[in-house]
Symmetry: C2
Subunit: 126 residues, 2 copies
């Protein structure tokens, strides 16, 4: 349920990001959010649109195998303010290289799998 003030309940964010509410709370505890999420009068989390955008980006980092601890490093830099932006850029550039390497390795493995598949298909169709 969204309120008129453009905030999102934890279940909304779960639905939007594909994370479970457990995982969202875990991420916050683990220091992966840029700040503690706002609470309602009944102390329920109210995610802003910016919070949702951050969680979405965070899932991109995670889906490219950035460890939780590295995400936390990034967040801690971000919390220290504008003068860490060069360090954050460097962190992202290093991660980018890792991602490219991962995609390349996957692609090489895919070629090997395709080769094996081709031998099976030969055996069946011949």
């Amino acid at each position: 349920m969204t309120t008129s003030a453009q905030s999102f309940a934890i279940s909304d964010v779960a639905a939007l990001t594909g994370l479970s509410t457990h995982t969202l709370r875990y991420y916050e505890r683990a220091g992966l959010m840029l700040h503690p999420i706002d609470r309602s009068s009944t102390s329920q989390r109210q995610y802003s649109e910016a919070d949702v955008a951050w969680v979405t980006f965070l899932t991109k980092l995670r889906s490219t195998a950035m460890p939780i601890a590295r995400v936390r490093d990034y967040v801690e830099l971000a919390r220290r303010g504008e003068d860490t932006s060069a360090a954050r850029l460097e962190l992202l550039l290093i991660h980018r290289m890792n991602v490219v390497a991962q995609v390349e390795e996957m692609t090489r493995s895919l070629a090997a799998i395709d080769f094996k598949i081709a031998t099976y298909q030969e055996r069946i169709t011949v």
Copy 2:
């Protein structure tokens, strides 16, 4: 076909595949080898070239996130003989779809990371 009968010590296979000797023994214990590896008179493992080729392919399956249990399923089919080759092909085709999906997701995430990188680079160069 050459019958050079070349065999490899576990340390050789480790060097060739990038796996540790611990992991190679673990894989054998976990039922990921097509058969128990031959032993020397001093009961040390002697991997054949075919064994090394299998370990190499196995690392391709693992590097594309096929779970150990799925690799074991594949191996158990292979051990049951020729009449399981259609099932093995199907298993590989399903895995192939997963790999393609993974690469696509990684590529999408990479685009998001690149977008973020671009915003940092703007901020720095401006």
